[in-house]
């Protein structure tokens, strides 16, 4: 559970910082792109809830898609390095990465037996992301910018 919350916050922070670096100054856009860096579901959900612009919502989906594809391709490559070979690390991994399609695809390429463990926590991640991003995290961003 800790890995899920940490995963959402870390991805959101990375996405938000990148958005800020690319010149987005308003809390709504930064939160939406940050949420998109979590998953491509959380991004548009957050953007719609906060009333972000169409361009920003599209960017958030794109960020989530890049993440999903990278996770799918990268998982089998980095699995030996990060010790991804048992159910416990698969659950932590699913919780940190979040993107359900990426995690399921990546784990299937690594070891199909690990898929259910990663997919379970990854599903939680989407729920927690949709809950945290438009609320606590958005308010935090707004506070930081003020």
């Amino acid at each position: 559970m800790m890995s899920v919350i940490l995963g959402v916050v870390i991805s959101f922070a990375v996405g938000g910082i990148v958005a800020y670096a690319f010149g987005y100054q308003d809390a709504v856009s930064i939160s939406t792109i940050g949420a998109g860096a979590a998953t491509y579901i959380v991004g548009p959900v957050t953007g719609t809830a906060l009333g972000a612009s169409s361009e920003v919502i599209a960017l958030s989906v794109a960020a989530g898609l890049v993440k999903s594809v990278l996770v799918m391709i990268g998982t089998p490559l980095v699995a030996p390095v990060i010790g991804l070979n048992n159910p416990q690390s698969a659950m932590i991994y699913g919780g940190l990465m979040g993107t359900t399609s990426g995690v399921a695809g990546g784990l299937a390429a690594t070891d199909p037996a690990l898929v259910p463990y990663g997919a379970m926590t990854a599903t939680f991640y989407t729920g927690v992301g949709c809950l945290l991003a438009p609320s606590v995290l958005f308010l935090l961003v707004r506070l930081l910018l003020a």
Partner: protein, 120 residues
């Protein structure tokens, strides 16, 4: 019946949206705060609770399964009606944001695994 699954799903959605709106009004943000997240977690809890109390019949589950299979086409449709041109023309933002999130998260996996092992 399949429609029971759909009903459960829509109940969770409506409940989540309602709570999200109330939360938004409470905090003073003109937005639905976390409604979809509340709905998703509620559905997860309800559909797992029921395995002990009143088991979900396979047909009921397929009412939920259909919509969970539909979510990728829905995301594609949502993305298709956004201003993709403006997003693409703003350069590598999506690429950098997506890649950054993946690299940092990958790096954290061994760290958290070690912490979890130490706890045992």
């Amino acid at each position: 019946m399949i429609v029971y699954g759909v009903a459960l799903l829509s109940f969770c959605m409506l409940f989540g949206v309602l709570v999200g709106d109330i939360l938004g009004a409470f905090i003073g943000v003109k937005a639905n705060v976390g409604g979809v997240g509340i709905a998703m977690l509620l559905l997860l809890v309800l559909s797992n609770l029921s395995s002990t109390r009143f088991s979900l019949k396979p047909l009921t589950e397929s009412g939920i399964g259909f919509w969970s299979a539909m979510y990728i086409p829905i995301v594609v449709a949502m993305a298709a009606k956004q201003n993709v041109y403006a997003a693409v023309s703003s350069g590598g933002l999506a690429l950098v944001a997506g890649t950054g999130a993946v690299v940092v998260s990958f790096a954290l996996v061994p760290l958290l695994t070690r912490i979890a092992k130490r706890k045992e």
